[in-house]
Symmetry: D2
Subunit: 124 residues, 4 copies
């Protein structure tokens, strides 16, 4: 859509972005960021995903994501309320302004999604 080229964040920009995106975790090389969300129900998770899909189309910038049941939950709890999201800009092999915009949007529509601190995010 935009004619401006998508470029890598500078080291300073990336450092500031990572500081403000408290709920997101970069990989070792800081070429992507990931967040794990846990909702009350599959319904709530799906309503969230439907809004992220719209935003991704608007930005032409899509996440890699999965929707699963939480690790370590009791066997009979069949609630598929977890969403793991990884953001990166493949064309430049790293983080761009679009990843920050998408992460901020995701945070803004999921205030009530509990962060599962007891579960390491090995999103991929």
């Amino acid at each position: 859509m935009s004619t401006s080229k998508t470029v890598l964040l500078t080291t300073t920009e990336r450092s500031e972005a990572l500081k403000s995106l408290q709920k997101w975790k970069p990989n070792a090389e800081e070429t992507n960021i990931s967040r794990r969300l846990k909702f009350q129900s599959f319904s709530e998770a799906w309503g969230f995903m439907s809004r992220v899909a719209l935003r991704a189309e608007r930005l032409n910038h899509h996440p890699e994501w999965k929707n699963v049941r939480p690790n370590g939950w009791k066997l009979l709890t069949q609630v598929y309320n977890r969403v793991d999201i990884t953001l990166t800009t493949h064309s430049i092999r790293g983080l761009s302004r679009k990843d920050v915009t998408m992460a901020e949007f995701i945070d803004s529509i999921s205030e009530h999604a509990e962060i599962a601190t007891d579960e390491n995010c090995g999103c991929s």
Copy 2:
């Protein structure tokens, strides 16, 4: 799914249901109920609709609904944030317990949807 037959609410049950569903308006014959919702954005409206669609499939009971821009908004405001919903049980030509269940679900996931009191709901 259920083997129990879907039956009309009795006059007393209907009267109680209509009293508790304050945001819903019955038609003259009280064979259906309608509600108009207004969200902050199309994104929010669509997230809502996606959850209603899931619930409708679970209950095997679907609404008649439309998604439009509000009446009377200034011409340039192109926000498609309004959802009009009508609930009825066609097979019995009136209101059943399923309509109440669906109306309660809709209310529970749309607390922040402003009721447009200045717009009459001619949902159909």
Copy 3:
């Protein structure tokens, strides 16, 4: 997204567009076009609507639409498989290139949606 202004189609452009969009019907003033679609199931209708929602966000151009059960179907057929869509460009009170783009997209993803020739489309 785009910086180019959205403008009305000229009379010639509108005439050509209406000729190629065989499945769409303009209103008397030719300020909007409508199409009625009928799918095999609510599931199929909803898969369609989900794709139209994405496209609308990409174009920043949303339809007015409703999802209902067909008129005149036997009482017990509770299939909410009909989608009525109206396209217009509110900011210019008429048809623009965006309406044509959206109509073409809708046609391209709904080849199997039966046209209900026995039902007049009073979509709105």
Copy 4:
């Protein structure tokens, strides 16, 4: 919904099911099955996922799934058109009739989804 208990498929039933579900691959213990799908676009993938979500709610049986861009694609091809799905019945730690029903539904609505034979499915 149903009052019948969800039970493991017998060895014979499982063997027959796996034979008929040609596009699905069981894990070593045959406690789950996975399929990788590749669509023409994110839009098509999302329309598919929206229908699977409805069906999962109807059956009260949800997949573990992810939506990503294909492995090994050229760097600039940013098409998030791949969906990896794993089906199992957690409450019984294995495959039940519900997994077969869901797999058959997924196959029935994705006839045109190319199977990526050059990509091993390490879905999880």
